[in-house]
Symmetry: C2
Subunit: 287 residues, 2 copies
């Protein structure tokens, strides 16, 4: 299974759909649009869109119904990065090898660009005509999901947290958006409740595997491949899996999570092959 | 017509509905919830909710269907104030007589509290089951609405803008949310396209009257009644109606806008009485 090719194809469809989202806004202030585009089209992996499109395709054989949800979730992911990089938050100058949004457009416009992406996400999500999809996305991005996780993360800075707390932070901060991508893809394919639950379980393990791999890359990754300096977690005194349990145990936990993700898919057939390969891929990636 | 009593009744209904929005979130980080509540329950006028509830009531005789939209729009209004007050934006210490969100909870949590209110707004809006209502709200709050207006506002700082540009800024920054409150109230009452158009016209004039009155209060208002220092527009070199056309002409323009707002309601009957009185009220208020 060619995971890169799979991600590339899903990424290209996402890219085109994201571009289309910007077509209607001819009256918007151009610096705001530029700042949004700077971060949205910065060479992200498009993992969340791929999960939404893939889940939809696994269930109904067509990824098209999931495109609006894929775009909405990627906009939300991007807004969270813009706000996370602000001086008052992580104060990062580089992201994916490019200057961060506030470095190029100033803090005020970067704050507004994040706000605008979050807002546009819900416009795009609503274009599905499905208020239940909008609600799922809002919940995953909200106080018990991504934003809540960012707040937990702030509070944990400089402290050594227990492993179960770290798991809770990650489940909210990155896991919720990964799970909702899968769920919305399935919902837009008119999947059954059982299919939704299995994909949610897949997403939960995949999110954990992804997060541990991310932590490991920050310790031992290649700056050029990553497009950002490594070691920032240690400098910011952030709790990570390698810091809490050591490198070897962290690697083992990532592998275990990938295996559990694959197992969650056992009732799906051959059509879920790309997702099984993807679970292995996220723990072996170099960026 | 007792406008204060009308606003008070609509405000009380809004307050109770907003409180109910916070009940489900038992797993959210408490500092984030506190920061959101600090700004959301800070004694705002609840003008936008009153417009949503009032429009719904005018059309179907019941304001209840509009409560989720009223809450969503007030959350969006509040998030915009939190982000507007940040050091990178207007750098304000006081809002409605209370320290601003970042003064109490720090900048990072204030940014997240704004993000969380914006996100929760769409969860609440989606609870109507109406994707069209969600889309209306997202559009009014987005790049061609409120956020776009804030960006135009940033760009206009320190410059003297033409009157028509100022009108465009206000139409986006404050007018869009006022109009969408009315529109969503009408939509949730299953109003006709003609009713929606009339209420939109009412909102357009009302928004202008409200904004000019706001500018006038910043020049000559009472700090204690306002709960914030006056003269901040002049200090921040913001273009305002009084600065552009003088106090007397600004007062006349506000009155004209209030009259035009009342005229937009002429096809409505007695049930629109409170809205007619409200149009006069916004240009005579002291806070």
């Amino acid at each position: 299974m060619d995971v890169s090719g799979y991600l590339h194809a899903k990424g290209a469809a996402t890219e085109a759909a994201l571009e289309a989202c910007f077509v209607p806004w001819t009256q918007a202030p151009s610096p705001l649009i530029e700042a949004m585009r700077h971060s949205l089209f910065a060479g992200g992996k498009r993992l969340r869109p791929a999960l939404a499109l893939g889940a939809c395709e696994i269930i109904c054989g067509d990824m098209t119904p999931a495109l609006p949800a894929a775009c909405a979730i990627e906009m939300i992911h991007t807004y969270s990065l813009i706000h996370d990089d602000l001086p008052a938050m992580d104060d990062d100058d580089l992201r994916r090898g490019k200057p961060t949004c506030h470095k190029v457009y100033g803090e005020a416009t970067a704050i507004l660009a994040g706000d605008a992406l979050l807002t546009m996400a819900f416009d795009v999500a609503a274009s599905t005509g499905r208020a239940d999809v909008v609600a799922e996305i809002a919940r995953a991005a909200g106080v018990e999901g991504m934003v809540g996780g960012q707040q937990f993360d702030l509070e944990a800075e400089g402290k050594t947290v227990a492993l179960e707390d770290l798991r809770r932070i990650h489940r909210a901060k990155t896991g919720a958006l990964i799970c909702v991508a899968l769920r919305c893809g399935a919902m837009l394919a008119h999947g059954t409740q059982v299919q939704l639950e299995r994909l949610t379980r897949f997403g939960d393990h995949l999110g954990l595997a992804f997060q541990i791999a991310d932590d490991l890359l920050d310790v031992g990754g290649d700056e050029e491949a990553l497009g950002k300096p490594v070691g920032s977690d240690a400098r910011n005194a952030k709790s990570t899996y390698p810091a809490l349990v050591g490198l070897d145990r962290a690697r083992a936990l990532a592998e275990e999570a990938a295996t559990a993700a694959v197992e969650a898919l056992e009732d799906f057939g051959e059509e879920a092959g790309p997702f099984r390969a993807l679970a292995r891929f996220v723990v072996s990636r170099d960026r």
